[in-house]
C-alpha cells in the first residue's frame, strides 16, 4: 500500500451509485424470496466451480495476480501522465477525447454527440460505466432510444429492471421469467415478436434465436454505437472490450460513429500489460481460459471514409467507425484515489469473482446494494466514489454488508484486499455515525480496556442466567434481538475463566 498523495478529494460520484435504502432493509425482500435464493445459489455456485477449475490449471496464477496488482498500482500512481498519453494517441489516430467530471457531464457530452449525428437510435455494448452514469435514461430524456445488445442486459432493459450482477446482469431471472419478458416486451420493427415466433417457449435455443433476430435488425439499421471499455492501452490509444456473445464486436465495427465511455482507471501503460489482464479476466469472470471475443480498436479507419461503413464498397478497410469519441469519466474516481487505503478499489477489472464467492451476495443478490456495483467490490467502490454523507446515507451501510470472511480477497485477480478496505470504510462511515452507537461503543471500550473493569462486568453476567430456560436464551430485546431472531444463546456460565483461574491459583 502506498500512502503517496494521489488524487484529489474532489467531485463526488453521482448517477446510479446509491440506493434509496440501507442494505439490511434492501436485502430483506431477496432473503424472503425462496426462488431467487435458489437461482442465485445455483448460478453463483456454478461459476465459482468453473473458475476454481481453470484457475487451478495455471502454475503461475499467483504470479499473474501479483503482476496484475503491480501494473494497476503503477498505473494509478501516474494516472495523469497515462491519460494524457492516451488522449494524444487517440487524437493522433483521428479520435476525439472528452473529459467528464461526473455522471451529468458525461451524459451531456454523449447526448450532444449523438444528437450531432442526427440519429435517434443507438446500440450499446454491455458497459458498467454507462450503467453507472444512467446514460440510457439521459438519452431517453433527449428522445434517443438506446438498445442494449448484450443478451442479459437486453433482458433487464426490456423488463425495466436493473442489473444485479456485473457479469451476469439477469442472474436473478430464470428462463421461464425470461421467456415471459420476451413474449410481452420484445417487438420488432413491425411490432411483432421477432421472427413471428408467437409461441415462444423457454427453450434456451428458442430464446437465443428470438434475441438474435431482434438484435440483428438493430445492428443493421443503427448508425451510432455506445460502448464502455475493459482496458485502454495508453501507448497506442487502443481500446479493448472483452465479451462472450459477439454483440459488442458488431457494435464496434458496424456503425459509423462509436462513442466509448470509460472510467479513467481503465488505462494501462502498454500492450505487454494487456497480456496479463487477458489471462486474469476470463478465468476469473466466466471461468473460461479465454473469452470468445476480444475487440481492439485504435482511432478511426481513414480508408473507410471512402464509403459508408459496412457498405461493402471497395477502396480500403470498411470495418470500424468513421468517427470515434472517447469520454473519460471521473465520477468520484479522483476522490477514491485520494484515499490511500481505499485506493486499490480502483484496480478492479470487473470480473465479478468476488460476487460469486461472497456468502452475502449469493444470498441477497445484487439489488440490495443499491448501486450499479454490487457485491464485495461494490460495497467498497460505491462509498469510495460517492463519499459518505452521514449516518443515513444508504452507502454508509454497504461496508457493513460483509462478514469479513475474506473469500473475495482470495479470488480477486488483482489482489484487492477488500476486507481491509471494508474495515477502513466502516471507520469512515462511523466517523459520521450515530451518536448513540458511538457512546455505547465508547462505554464498551472503557470496560474492555481494563482487566479490573472487565472482571467486574463479568461478575454481573450470571444475572443473564435468569433469561435462560434449559440452558439457553431464546429471546433478547433490541438490538440483541437480531441475534435471537435466528439463533439461541447459551446461558452465561456461573464463573468466568478469570475467576476459575484465580481460584485455581488460590488452591
Amino acid at each position: 500500500m502506498s500512502s503517496t498523495f494521489l488524487g484529489m478529494p474532489g467531485t463526488a460520484g453521482s448517477g446510479n451509485l446509491r440506493g434509496d435504502r440501507p442494505f439490511p432493509e434492501a436485502a430483506a425482500g431477496a432473503l424472503g424470496d425462496e426462488q431467487l435464493r435458489r437461482n442465485l445459489a445455483h448460478a453463483t455456485g456454478t461459476i465459482r466451480a468453473k473458475r476454481a477449475t481453470v484457475v487451478g490449471e495455471l502454475d503461475d496464477w499467483e504470479q499473474l495476480r501479483d503482476a496484475g496488482s503491480a501494473i494497476k498500482i503503477d498505473a494509478m500512481a501516474r494516472l495523469p501522465e497515462l491519460l494524457e498519453r492516451l488522449e494524444r494517441e487517440v487524437t493522433t489516430r483521428g479520435g476525439v477525447v472528452h473529459w467528464a467530471r461526473d455522471a451529468d457531464e458525461a451524459n451531456r457530452i454523449v447526448t450532444r454527440l449523438v444528437t450531432d449525428t442526427g440519429q435517434r437510435e443507438v446500440v450499446k455494448v454491455k458497459s458498467m460505466a454507462t450503467q453507472e452514469i444512467g446514460l440510457n435514461e439521459a438519452l431517453e430524456a433527449a428522445g434517443i432510444t438506446a438498445t442494449e445488445t448484450d443478451l442479459a442486459e437486453l433482458i433487464v432493459q426490456l423488463d425495466d429492471d436493473r442489473p444485479s450482477h456485473i457479469l451476469v446482469p439477469a442472474i436473478h431471472r430464470n428462463r421461464q421469467e425470461i421467456a415471459e419478458i420476451f413474449r410481452t416486451r420484445m417487438r420488432d420493427a413491425q411490432g411483432r415478436v421477432p421472427g413471428g415466433i408467437d409461441n415462444l417457449t423457454d427453450d434456451p435455443a428458442a430464446l437465443a434465436e428470438a434475441a438474435r433476430r431482434y438484435l440483428r435488425e438493430k445492428f443493421l439499421s443503427t448508425r451510432v454505437a455506445v460502448s464502455g471499455a475493459n482496458f485502454a492501452v495508453a501507448e497506442t490509444g487502443t481500446l479493448c472490450v472483452v465479451e462472450s456473445e459477439g454483440n459488442g464486436r458488431m457494435c464496434v465495427t458496424l456503425p459509423d460513429t462509436l462513442i466509448t465511455v470509460m472510467g479513467i482507471e481503465k488505462v494501462i501503460p502498454s500492450w505487454r500489460d494487456l497480456e496479463v489482464f487477458l489471462q486474469l479476466l476470463p478465468r476469473s469472470s466466466t471461468g473460461e481460459r479465454m473469452n470468445p471475443y476480444t475487440s481492439l480498436w485504435t482511432g478511426v479507419h481513414a480508408a473507410s471514409a471512402s464509403g459508408p461503413a459496412g457498405s461493402g464498397e471497395t477502396g480500403g478497410d470498411t470495418d470500424g467507425p468513421r468517427e470515434f469519441h472517447l469520454v473519460l469519466l471521473d465520477n468520484g474516481r479522483t476522490a477514491a484515489l485520494s484515499d490511500p487505503v481505499g485506493r486499490p478499489a480502483l484496480h478492479c477489472i470487473r470480473c465479478s469473482a468476488c460476487l460469486n464467492a461472497c456468502p452475502v451476495y449469493s444470498r441477497t443478490g445484487g439489488h440490495a446494494y443499491g448501486s450499479t456495483y454490487p457485491g464485495p467490490i461494490g460495497a467498497i467502490l460505491s462509498p469510495l466514489l460517492t463519499g459518505i454523507s452521514g449516518p443515513d446515507d444508504p452507502n454508509a451501510s454497504l461496508p457493513f454488508a460483509s462478514t469479513l470472511c475474506g473469500a473475495c480477497y482470495d479470488v480477486c485477480p488483482v489482489k484487492i484486499d477488500i476486507p481491509s478496505i471494508l474495515v477502513h470504510l466502516r471507520g469512515r462511515a462511523m466517523r459520521e455515525g450515530r451518536r448513540g452507537e458511538r457512546a455505547v461503543m465508547r462505554l464498551l471500550a472503557w470496560v474492555l480496556s481494563s482487566a479490573r473493569r472487565f472482571g467486574a462486568a463479568e461478575r454481573l453476567m450470571p444475572v443473564g442466567r435468569l433469561l435462560a430456560r434449559d440452558g439457553r436464551i431464546r429471546r433478547l430485546p433490541p438490538p440483541l434481538s437480531g441475534w435471537t431472531d435466528h439463533r439461541d444463546l447459551p446461558a452465561p456460565p456461573r464463573r468466568s475463566f478469570r475467576r476459575l483461574w484465580a481460584r485455581r491459583r488460590a488452591r
Binding site: F23, P24, A27, A28, L31, R37, V341, P359, V360, R363, P399, F400, A401, S402, T403, L404, C405, G406, A407, Y409, D410, S420, V423, R426, G427, R428, M430, R431, G433, M441, R442, A445, L448, S449, S450, A451, R453, F454, E458, M461, G471, R472, P479, L480, G482, W483, D485, H486, R487, D488, L489, P490, A491, P492, P493, R495, S496, F497, R498, L500
Partner: protein
C-alpha cells in the same frame, strides 16, 4: 516452555471451558501456562465495527498485558488474527507509532492454537482420545487470515477414537461476522441455515472449529433448529483423554 494464554474476552466470559481446555492440553504436553491477568479484550470488535480510535486503549492494554510473554497462544484464529494483522495497522493509522512497533513485536510471538502445536511445539499427536463422529468447520479467519491450512485437521486425524467426516462446502463462512450477526441479522441467519444444513448432512454428533465465536453462532443455530448436534472447540477435543469418562473433559461443565 512457558506459554501465555490469551483467553480472549469471549472465552473468558462466555465459554470458559474453551480456555480451560487449552490450559489442560498444554499442561499435559509438559508446558507451563500463564494467564497474564491484565488482559481484557484485543479490540477486534471495535476495529471491525468502525471505531479504530476507540480501539487504541484496548490495543494498548493488550500489548502491555503481554509485554513479558515470550510466547502467546489464543484458542481463537479471529483474535490471533486481529493481533497479528490489525493491531499495528490501527495504531499506526491513529498516529500511535510507538504502540504500533510494540504491537508488531507482540504479533510475531502470538499464535493460534493449531499453529502453536504444529509449528512451534512440533506435535501433531497430542495423545487425545475423543470417541465421537466429528465434522470440522474451518473458520474464515483461520483459513483466510492466518492460513492455518491443514493443521487443525492433521491434529484431529491423530485423535484416537475420533471419526472425522467431511463437511460439505466447508470453506464457506457460517455467517457470524461479529456485529454483522446483529446488524444484518437476516442475511446472517440465511447463511447460517445453509451451514446448519451442511452440518446435519454429515450425520456427525459434533461440529468442531478453532473459534469459540463461530461455534457460538453455529451452536445457536443448531439449538434453534432443535438439532441433536453439539459444538465443540478444537481445544476441547485435543484436551480430552481416555481417562475422561465420556470423552468430554472435566472443565467443560461450567454452566
Amino acid at each position: 516452555m512457558r506459554i501465555a494464554l490469551l483467553a480472549t474476552c469471549l472465552a473468558d466470559a462466555v465459554t470458559p471451558h474453551v480456555a480451560r481446555a487449552t490450559v489442560r492440553l498444554l499442561e499435559r504436553l509438559g508446558h507451563r501456562v500463564t494467564f497474564p491477568r491484565e488482559q481484557a479484550c484485543c479490540g477486534q470488535m471495535h476495529i471491525n465495527s468502525g471505531y479504530p480510535d476507540q480501539a487504541v486503549p484496548l490495543i494498548r492494554n493488550h500489548v502491555a498485558a503481554f509485554a513479558d510473554a515470550d510466547l502467546v497462544v489464543a484458542p481463537s484464529a479471529s483474535c490471533a488474527g486481529s493481533v497479528r494483522h490489525q493491531h499495528a495497522t490501527v495504531a499506526r493509522a491513529e498516529g500511535q507509532h510507538a504502540l504500533a512497533e510494540e504491537a508488531e513485536r507482540l504479533a510475531g510471538r502470538t499464535y493460534e492454537l493449531s499453529e502453536l502445536l504444529v509449528d512451534v511445539l512440533g506435535v501433531i499427536d497430542v495423545g487425545a482420545y475423543y470417541p465421537h463422529r466429528v465434522t470440522y468447520h474451518p473458520t474464515c479467519h483461520s483459513l483466510r487470515m492466518l492460513r492455518v491450512g491443514q493443521r487443525p485437521l492433521t491434529l484431529l486425524r491423530h485423535v484416537r477414537g475420533l471419526e472425522l467426516v467431511e463437511l460439505p462446502s466447508a470453506e464457506e463462512c457460517c455467517g457470524f461476522g461479529g456485529t454483522f450477526a446483529v446488524k444484518n441479522a437476516a442475511t446472517s441467519g440465511a447463511i447460517l441455515s445453509d451451514k446448519i444444513e451442511a452440518i446435519l448432512a454429515t450425520g456427525a454428533g459434533a461440529c468442531a472449529a478453532a473459534d469459540a465465536s463461530c461455534l457460538l453462532h453455529i451452536g445457536g443455530g443448531l439449538s434453534r433448529a432443535g438439532a441433536d448436534v453439539r459444538t465443540v472447540h478444537l481445544a476441547e477435543i485435543l484436551a480430552s483423554t481416555a481417562s475422561d469418562t465420556d470423552g468430554d473433559a472435566e472443565g467443560t461443565d461450567t454452566r
